[in-house]
């Protein structure tokens, strides 16, 4: 049975420990979100990669919240609060030089847009946006 498409904004929230052993949990939730939205298999893979890379850069922080805001044809993901200042530097600083393969270039490639939002002092939340491709 096929579930009806998302017709109004919905929120899915996850709080997870950070660590590669927890990546499968995040990927499965992302997969469920992608299925509800009708996101393409390759777009799902892109989103999983974006979140994985971001969490991999989160350093020694123990846990993180991930919020998935679903709207018709689009998902917005908030990851944070993150306390890793280099993430802000990497995402807000000057564009990477050609040929450099850092977090910013990865995100620029795999999501439609991203941004860094201030949370509490010294903390930030990273926003990732992905639209459902044309059908």
């Amino acid at each position: 049975m096929t579930a009806p498409p998302v017709s109004q904004p919905e929120l899915v929230e996850l709080e997870t420990p950070i660590g590669s052993e927890w990546d499968p949990v995040v990927r499965l939730v992302l997969g469920g979100v992608a299925d509800r939205l009708g996101l393409g298999f390759e777009d799902l893979d892109d989103l999983q990669l974006a979140v994985e890379r971001l969490l991999a850069e989160a350093g020694a922080q123990r846990a993180v919240k991930i919020a998935f805001e679903l709207s018709p044809g689009r998902v917005r993901i908030h990851v944070g609060p993150l306390r890793e200042a280099p993430i802000a530097e990497a995402l807000q600083g000057p564009p990477p030089a050609p040929g450099e393969l850092e977090l910013r270039r990865v995100l620029e490639t795999v999501v439609d847009s991203f941004g860094v939002e201030e949370a509490a002092a010294g903390e930030l939340v990273v926003r990732l946006d992905k639209r459902v491709g044309p059908r």
């Binding site: 499965l28 299925d35 390759e42 990669l49 280099p86 450099e100 393969l101």
Partner: protein
């Protein structure tokens, strides 16, 4: 008695002579010739492990590492043919790969089989639809539920076709972990990021090419898959593992 007749089409130099040139004089070209000469053995052994959910080219890649190790560890005073010595090394490397990364981590057989079917289904649907299929479309194609599809994809992510110990193919033939670990000691985190490019250069040529196509040229995985002759899922795994390998190497 040692027999080491060269393969047809090779330089004609016996294995033993090439081994001597490599071990006694550091002749890297002799080592390369040995590797090239015995790749058919690796392919033959790798085929025995086909159909277990791992792509044959990945198994061959792992087997080739076993061959390289065998060449490096070969002792000239042993009266044994290189093929005889290399075979258990190649098989051992492949078995280790499956044990460490493969299906032996107790993935239910049904999920293994679904994962194996997945790659073909993604290719078929991509061609048929002219775009990447959704999870629901994949589930329908595979006569499975979306949950089963997601679990099967996740099961497949346990693989690691990229080996950091694979020789980068440069003249020094250093182990990649040694190269990166030595050079990056003491670097600050931000400096590590800036020096990812050298780490990229140490990946196998195919992985470098794929990463550049994805992150510099902006090609999709499907477009890359068409260009390099792999499946989209294989390209996905290579990208993910290459990035992870680079990050891990920089963190050491």
């Amino acid at each position: 008695m040692t027999t080491s007749a060269p393969a047809p089409g090779s330089s004609g130099t016996p294995d033993r002579e090439l081994l001597r040139r490599y071990h006694q004089h550091g002749d890297v070209s002799a080592r390369e010739e040995l590797v090239e000469r015995h790749l058919p053995l690796v392919r033959s052994l790798a085929r025995r492990y086909a159909g277990r959910g791992e792509l044959i080219e990945d198994i061959e890649q792992v087997g080739a590492i076993g061959l390289i190790k065998a060449i490096d560890r070969y002792e000239l005073d042993r009266d044994v043919a290189l093929t005889t010595y290399a075979t258990p090394n190649v098989v051992g490397e492949i078995k280790r790969h499956f044990r460490d990364r493969g299906w032996t981590i107790r993935i239910p057989r049904a999920l293994q089989e679904l994962n194996v079917k997945m790659s073909g289904a993604v290719e078929r649907l991509t061609v048929r639809l002219g775009r990447s299929p959704t999870i629901a479309e994949l589930a329908k194609e595979l006569d499975a539920t979306p949950e089963q599809v997601l679990e099967a994809v996740e099961a497949g992510s346990a693989y690691s076709p990229v080996s950091l110990s694979a020789s980068p193919g440069n003249e020094e033939d250093l182990d990649l972990m040694e190269v990166i670990g030595t050079e990056d000691e003491g670097y600050a985190r931000s400096e590590e990021r800036a020096s990812l490019e050298p780490a990229l250069g140490e990946l196998p040529e195919r992985e470098q090419k794929i990463l550049r196509m994805r992150f510099e040229e902006g090609l999709t995985q499907t477009q890359i898959a068409e260009r390099v002759g792999l499946s989209q899922m294989h390209v996905s795994r290579l990208i993910r593992r290459s990035l992870e390998s680079m990050r891990e190497a920089m963190a050491e």
